[in-house]
């Protein structure tokens, strides 16, 4: 309502016209609505004066947070156990493919969807598919969803327990050593690859169909479209070795990488899988490769250690109003680092198209035990 200004009679203290008295009363009466900053004392209100001051439900967190929830898949194993087949997530390269092209495109983007018994589930609330806003009343399938407003901020965080990296093709480490470490020449390289895990978002249906999950910066269904957007596995696919032929990564293949500076990658969790060495002398067999984790068989000369907890998080500002129904984790790989000397940009690529066994290519599966995901939606207004 703003300040109320009255005509003051004091100090004249004489006879006052009725119209002036009425004007003062009307000024007060007319200001009975629309209280604003001018009317409220500095720091005069307390939290209880505001709507959403207290948690209305277990998920509604009050003034600053619109909604928050957490979910874990409940898949827990004893050390020494093997994960189920559905908890194994394969690299993009698959040397069991009979054709020259050893790429399985389906492996480029895989839902982390195993449930508490290690079986695949597409249901919300199971695996890493979390229903945003909780379930609708009376339903164990449909999510409430949350109406995102422009300016809201979503904090998504997750954790996966990398149980084991299992090289899929090779019965011998030599396959990887000869191609990636190469004790016989100066073609040494660094064997550090990672599987990457990231969240995708469903703004399309309250049942959370896998077909409806996209990047937060997706041009049609996303809610954070402002450039530079979020990188996905399609950014930086590079045919290693050009289908089996010898190629120079400076001029082919790897230069297709996506520079880090071009898109956001803070939403990726890097799960390291292998390390290697060409050895201290040019002697066959002096080279070694080891995997980063194997909780099934335990540490050894070729295994660094047991299970690894790999976490990630991202903060996303909503720039397009959408109803967010669910969030799910995905995995891809293998991702490597490379520096493009032509463009002078550092970046990453996804390994692709190893054509024959002898041409190498890292083919393996990431075994994931437990996985969890949570989110916090901060209110844009702060109330």
């Amino acid at each position: 309502m703003g300040s109320v200004n009255l005509e003051k009679f004091y100090p004249a203290n004489g006879t006052v016209e009725a119209a002036k008295v009425n004007a003062n009363f009307n000024a007060v009466a007319g200001s009975s609505q629309g209280v604003n900053d001018d009317n409220v004392a500095t720091e005069g209100l307390i939290r209880d004066n505001f709507a959403n001051a207290n948690s209305a439900t277990a998920y509604n967190k009050g003034l600053c947070i619109k909604h928050a929830a957490f979910q874990e898949n409940g898949y827990t194993l004893a050390t020494g156990s093997a994960v189920s087949a559905n908890a194994k997530y394969h690299s993009l390269t698959d040397n069991t493919i009979a054709t020259a092209n050893k790429t399985d495109d389906a492996n480029k983007r895989q839902e982390i969807a195993h449930n508490s018994s290690g079986a695949t589930s597409t249901q919300q609330g199971i695996g890493t598919k979390i229903p945003v806003g909780g379930y609708q009343d009376g339903s164990t399938q449909r999510s409430n969803g949350i109406a995102l407003e422009v300016g809201d901020v979503i904090h998504v965080y997750w954790n996966v327990t990398a149980w084991r990296w299992e090289p899929q093709y090779s019965a011998s480490w030599a396959t990887y050593v000869c191609e990636l470490i190469d004790y016989s020449s100066v073609r040494g390289t660094i064997l550090n690859y990672a599987m990457c895990i990231w969240p995708e978002f469903n703004t399309q249906d309250d049942l959370g169909s896998n077909a409806n999950f996209t990047s937060a910066s997706d041009s049609t269904h996303g809610f954070a479209r402002t450039s530079p957007g979020f990188a996905n596995p399609d950014d930086g696919v590079a045919p290693l070795g050009g289908g089996g032929g010898v190629s120079d990564p400076n001029s082919t293949g790897l230069n297709n990488l996506m520079p880090f500076a071009d898109k956001r990658r803070d939403h990726w969790t890097w799960v390291p899988v292998m390390m290697g060495s060409c050895g201290s002398s040019n002697v066959a067999g002096n080279d070694t490769v080891c995997v980063m984790m194997d909780a099934e068989n335990g540490p050894s000369d070729t295994v660094i250690g047991g299970a690894r907890n790999c976490s990630g998080q991202t903060y996303i500002t909503v720039d397009t109003a959408k109803t967010l129904h669910s969030i799910q984790l995905y995995v891809t790989g293998l991702m490597g680092l490379h520096y493009n000397t032509s463009s002078n940009k550092n970046g990453t690529f996804i390994e692709d198209q190893a054509s024959t066994n002898t041409s190498g290519g890292i083919d393996g599966t990431l075994h994931i035990e437990r996985a969890s995901i949570g989110y916090v939606v901060y209110r844009k207004e702060g109330v």
């Binding site: 307390i46 040494g188 803070d266 990726w268 520096y339």
Partner: protein
């Protein structure tokens, strides 16, 4: 609104002095003009639509923070300029050069300023990082020297250290660091720093020690 004594009781039928109107009405107007407080407003009565944005908090997000690409140098130990077809060029920071030099010193990754209100400030820094671990990698045919490398991160507010991480030893990993501190009203500079261990006398300067990418700095100022 504190209790206020009634200063005027206008009696019906009497002649009223005009200043008594001032006293009677002014008593209420004083409250309306900036004197309303928790007792005047109903609990739960102020809804979102009635409030300015950012009434209780301000969230600042700085994304896509990366090293300057041209500052990175190649690893000469394992990667030649024409590596094998499955090889690639590992670039990063090396000993003997800025910003690492001899190691153990803090290099600045990024610095941002934020206009704060009195309250608490949550600072979230995350990035991906890679280290070439010589305890597993050996330089081609020439040495079996090993050196365990790590990265540490530090958060500073106006130059004061408010958070220092433990060493991160993985070959590739996400590095997530968070702290919450009391903050005063005004403009504050939040900077992120990193370091690697000291150079050993047998550490090869051709080695890329570490590189990071994909930084995200998020600051949440929750008002008092």
């Amino acid at each position: 609104m504190p209790y206020r004594f009634t200063k005027a009781d206008i009696i019906s039928g009497s002649i009223v002095q005009s200043r008594e109107f001032d006293n009677a009405i002014g008593n209420y107007v004083d409250v309306m003009n900036g004197g309303m407080d928790r007792d005047n407003m109903p609990y739960g009565g102020v809804v979102s639509a009635s409030c300015d944005g950012g009434l209780f908090q301000n969230i600042a997000i700085f994304d896509n923070i990366n090293p300057i690409d041209t500052d990175l140098q190649p690893d000469g130990n394992y990667v030649t300029l024409t590596p094998n077809r499955l090889g690639r060029l590992m670039y990063g920071y090396r000993y003997g050069e800025e910003p690492i030099n001899a190691g153990d010193g803090w290099a600045q990754a990024t610095s941002k300023s934020l206009e704060c209100n009195e309250g608490m400030l949550q600072i979230d820094w995350q990035c991906a990082e890679a280290k070439t671990q010589y305890w597993s990698y050996w330089r081609n045919f020439t040495t079996d020297k090993v050196a365990l490398k790590y990265m540490q991160w530090q958060i500073r507010v106006d130059g004061n250290n408010v958070y220092t991480s433990a060493g991160q030893y993985e070959i590739m990993n996400n590095s997530i660091h968070r702290c919450t501190i009391p903050i005063s009203k005004g403009n504050h500079e939040i900077s992120i720093h990193w370091r690697v261990p000291s150079q050993r006398d047998d550490t090869d300067q051709n080695q890329v020690v570490a590189v990071w990418w994909g930084g995200l700095l998020t600051m949440i100022n929750k008002y008092r």
